[in-house]
């Protein structure tokens, strides 16, 4: 049995809300009755509020998608870097081996795994939109703050492959406190590396 996706249910609810509001606007006389007042209350308050909250939730979910992040021109090279055929490229190795959800690749590594981290990521996303359409896009684009090891440790800490590496064990406190950066201390320092993209091979996934 095919169950409708949440987005399809939301479209249906939006259409029902619009139709009910149109009915009340075109036939205001129906609000003379008690049932009509209840219908107007449902059409003008309950359903629109439900639609707005549901719509906001749907938009927030969509903003986590890789294709959403890569829909801005400035991000194209970063999206392409996920397909570099070289395991030393950290994002490419994670993306191609499905160590992160492929559909939410950018968000998985670039959200803060801290309290209110998701909200902070969304606020920064609004700032990105402002810069994209009304500001000046820096070249090259940079993170607002140095990449926090916490985002790596969110998945790697406790993992056998991470903890069986003696260097990780020896430096664990320093890694946890960000004194030793995972990506700028010479260990995993090839990240997107978009400046060097002309000289690399790309992997094509089989369809």
């Amino acid at each position: 049995m095919h169950l409708p996706a949440p987005a399809e249910l939301l479209y249906a609810l939006l259409l029902i809300s619009i139709v009910l509001v149109v009915i009340v606007v075109l036939r205001p006389g129906i609000t003379n009755s008690r049932e009509g007042k209840m219908l107007a209350f449902l059409a003008f308050l309950i359903l629109p509020v439900l639609c707005m909250f549901w719509g906001a939730s749907e938009h927030i979910d969509r903003s986590k998608q890789t294709q959403f992040c890569l829909s801005c021109h400035v991000m194209e090279a970063y999206g392409k870097s996920l397909y570099v055929d070289d395991p030393s490229y950290v994002p490419a190795a994670h993306f191609q081996n499905h160590r992160i959800p492929v559909d939410e690749a950018c968000y998985t590594c670039h959200t803060d795994y801290a309290m209110y981290g998701g909200i902070r990521a969304k606020m920064q996303g609004l700032q990105h939109i402002y810069v994209q359409y009304l500001g000046t896009i820096p070249n090259p684009i940079k993170l607002y703050t140095p990449y926090n090891n916490r985002e790596c440790l969110h998945c790697h800490l406790g993992a056998r492959s991470f903890e069986s590496n003696p260097i990780h064990v020896a430096l664990l406190d320093s890694i946890k406190s960000n004194q030793t950066s995972c990506i700028t201390s010479g260990c995993h320092d090839t990240v997107h590396n978009v400046a060097n993209q002309k000289n690399v091979k790309f992997w094509s996934p089989a369809q």
């Binding site: 939006l14 003008f44 629109p48 707005m52 719509g55 969509r62 959403f68």
Partner: protein, 65 residues
């Protein structure tokens, strides 16, 4: 104190139009997964929606008084 039915009916036209526009914009914005769609939803659709709700509630209060 009774609410005058005709007053409610008349007062629903403008909030109704604002809500129809707000909900239509929300519907259109959901057809894209792009940053501009979110802006359209949050700022244009949201403003129309809030204005519609506010005017609807105001029309209820105004009809009472």
């Amino acid at each position: 104190m009774n609410i005058e039915p005709a007053a409610i009916g008349r007062g629903l036209r403008l909030p109704g139009i604002l809500l129809i526009l707000g909900l239509t914009i929300e519907l259109i914005s959901l057809l894209w997964a792009k940053p501009l769609a979110f802006i359209l939803f949050a700022f244009v659709g949201g403003a129309l929606f809030l204005a519609g709700i506010f005017l609807y509630l105001y029309s209820l209060v105004a009809a009472r008084s």
